[in-house]
């Protein structure tokens, strides 16, 4: 049995701080950790956890966007075009949110966690063809999506082209849907969209993806909020912990070896994925924190 007291609020704050710091070290929002931790260890209802996590996703996106924007890494034009797909996906997710049975949400979450773990093991590299020679397609030309970014190693502006926008949009629709349904930033679907379809340089892809998740999450979080599904007692400490954690993570990123963080990440993802799977089958191994 559980009571929402000040101790639980502090626990929520601390957990979100840790999750967002861990996520921030790899340049992503901590939602993928926050939801399972709240559900498994905090025994928070999964719908409440998802609603709160979406606020945290917005907070991480808005709070972390400034340096990327000022640094010229965010492709704002491409972001708004892709946001048509992600917000449409989020809207579909809102419709599905109350309909999908809870065990399915657990299974879906487990799949996303395990896929993320697998993705984390495979190294990402800049896509081979960022050269200006290949044709980037009709959409890109019409909306002037090609851009350039400052490459620190080369010390100059590097031009890049945006490829296969329609395919990218399709993947982004899926990312928006998963984001609204599970309360996460959906990096697991955005990374293939950015790397394989659009073929963006990694830094541009991380910055643009971070910029986009705020708007995507706002579409679903707004719906849940006006519906009266956002529980401030849970969402408040989670949002606050996330903002501070994301800032902390970005600082830690400079000091820790990337490989060690990656390994820690994979272990956490697999453990949480297995737990969510068990929870989906109705097996609860963990006791409450308080």
């Amino acid at each position: 049995m559980l009571e929402i007291n000040s101790g639980f609020a502090i626990w929520l704050f601390t957990v979100s701080l840790g999750a967002s710091a861990l996520g921030g070290m790899l340049g992503m929002a901590g939602g993928v950790f926050i939801v399972p931790i709240l559900v498994i260890f905090g025994h928070v209802d999964i719908h409440t956890a998802i609603g709160s996590s979406l606020i945290s996703v917005i907070a991480c996106s808005c709070g972390g966007a400034a340096p990327f924007l000022r640094g010229g890494l965010t492709n704002v034009r491409l972001a708004i075009v892709l946001e048509v797909a992600t917000t449409l996906g989020a809207l579909s997710g809102v419709f599905l949110f109350g309909v999908v049975p809870v065990p399915y949400l657990f299974f879906l979450f487990a799949v996303i966690l395990l896929l993320s773990a697998q993705q984390m093991m495979a190294r990402r590299g800049d896509p081979v063809s960022t050269s200006a020679s290949t044709d980037s397609g009709q959409w890109t030309a019409m909306l002037r999506l090609d851009s350039s970014y400052p490459d620190r190693e080369l010390g100059e502006m590097t031009a890049y082209r945006v490829h296969r926008v329609p395919m990218g949009m399709m993947l982004m629709y899926g990312a928006g849907l998963i984001s609204a349904l599970l309360g996460i930033g959906s990096g697991v679907l955005k990374i293939p969209a950015m790397d394989t379809a659009l073929r963006l340089p990694i830094k541009v892809s991380s910055a643009t993806s971070n910029f986009m998740i705020g708007v995507t999450a706002a579409a679903s979080a707004g719906a849940y909020f006006v519906r009266g599904d956002t529980v401030t007692v849970v969402a408040g400490p989670v949002a606050l912990g996330s903002v501070l954690g994301a800032g902390l993570g970005a600082r830690l990123l400079m000091r820790l070896s990337n490989d060690r963080v990656r390994l820690l990440f994979v272990v956490v993802l697999v453990v949480l994925g297995a737990q969510m799977l068990l929870q989906g089958f109705g097996i609860h191994l963990m006791k409450g924190p308080l």
């Binding site: 009571e3 929402i4 007291n5 400034a66 924007l69 449409l88 705020g214 009266g228």
Partner: protein, 134 residues
Amino acid sequence: MNSAGLRPGRLEWLLAAVLHHGSWLASAIIGFGLGLALIDSRAPELTILRDMRVATIGIALFILLPVLRVILMIVVYVRQRDYRLSAVALLVLTIILLGFAVGLAGSRHHNAPGSSDARVTRNRSASFDPSYIA
């Protein structure tokens, strides 16, 4: 092919400033609201549910921040006479507002936004609220 000579970076700096300051403001309001509730909770029943209105305003602000960002983009693109991109931004805004409308239509409570707290407060006498704690 950069942003077609329309003073590139100006929009980016504007958005950076709005998102940065907006995040700080929303976080500060949530922090202040939670602080108030914590102080409040030292009284009778050690629950921090007494008054979450201030923190709820902070949360609403966080949700509105990306919406404000999209509105700003519409304004800037219209002023740059980039009608294609402003139409795209307008479409995004419409979809987000549609989401809000869907939420409003599905609202289970009459005083929707603050109602989560109302629900929590209502169940405060019980040791836990089954509607949000499993």
